[in-house]
Amino acid sequence: MTASPWAPYGVELSSRFLLGTAGYPSPRVLADSIAASGTQVVTVGLRRTLAAGGDNGFIDILRQTLRACGARLLPNTAGCRTAREAITLAHMARELYDTPWIKLEVVGDEHTLQPDPWGTVEAAKQLIQDGFAVFPYCTDDLVTCQRLLDVGCQVLMPWGAPIGSGQGLINPFALRTLRARLPGVPLVVDAGIGAPSHAAQALELGFDAVLLNSAVSQAIDPVRMARAFGLAIEAGRAAFEAGVMAPQDMAVASTPVAGQPFLID
């Protein structure tokens, strides 16, 4: 079976697994997890330089790994609370990582890390005018997603559940609605995925890809978990393309019984 491609911003990708790079126990485990996942897109961040504290070599080995496997970088604007902050950080990321791709995050609530829809749309509009390829992290609200498309986003990344919660797809109805109302738009479930079954479910719903981090990096064996997610994502996509059967309220016998000579009183 050959993997079916998708093409965010015209870049054809065979992997539907976008992987975060934070929280791994060591740079070596991060590199091995990337290799095991089969991902072609990994997320990275920026932070203020502090006198104390390096990054323990994570970025160096990440760059080496990406050179070897050819995966692309997707920098994020994590930690931004306003459109202005996010726009500024995005420009920095473009210079530092030499890519116009940006995972736009404008957080509106500290407890849930729920995206601010107004700030996200405002920032997306400006960034697209500035030449960025914006991957907005957003909620599963249909109208917000439509507004993001209106300002020029070509990919949407609605949450499955709050970041790092591992709850899976807490509102499948909203996600199904997005898929049905936005045909042809690359949709990525970003955040909240805790288990490979959650990722498979997203792909079975017709989502084009998933983005996750903690479910792999916090596993007892991240490398094996990365592989498990890769398999689940491939299975979920294959199932979607094969056509998942519609659920029925009542039993529907699978074994043909007409004409069988049994149960005759």
Binding site: G20, T21, A22, G23, Y24, L30, T43, V44, G45, L46, R47, R48, T49, L50, A51, D55, F58, I59, L62, P75, N76, A78, T88, L89, H91, M92, A93, E95, L96, Y97, I163, N213, S214
Partner: protein, 75 residues
């Protein structure tokens, strides 16, 4: 009567440091003086992004806040 003249030192903030800000100092010169690898950071002055190509022509004033940002892992 002698008055001790106490001129406040012209200073700026560079990340978590307070540094002198001599007249004519540019962002590029500040980074060089602080031995910052200019290719490995992005810069902002008073919250505004300053592209790499504009660092040598961006003057700094006393009271400015200069921040550098570096690549890190992220989700």
């Amino acid at each position: 009567m002698t008055h001790a003249l106490h001129q406040p030192t012209a200073a700026l903030t560079f990340n978590d440091l307070t540094l002198p800000c001599p007249e004519g100092l540019t962002l590029g010169a500040l980074l060089a003086a602080q031995q910052v690898n200019a290719e490995q950071v992005a810069t902002a002055v008073n919250g505004r992004f300053v592209p790499r190509t504009q660092r040598d022509t961006t003057p700094l004033q006393p009271g400015d806040t200069v921040l550098t940002f570096q690549a890190i892992v992220g989700g």
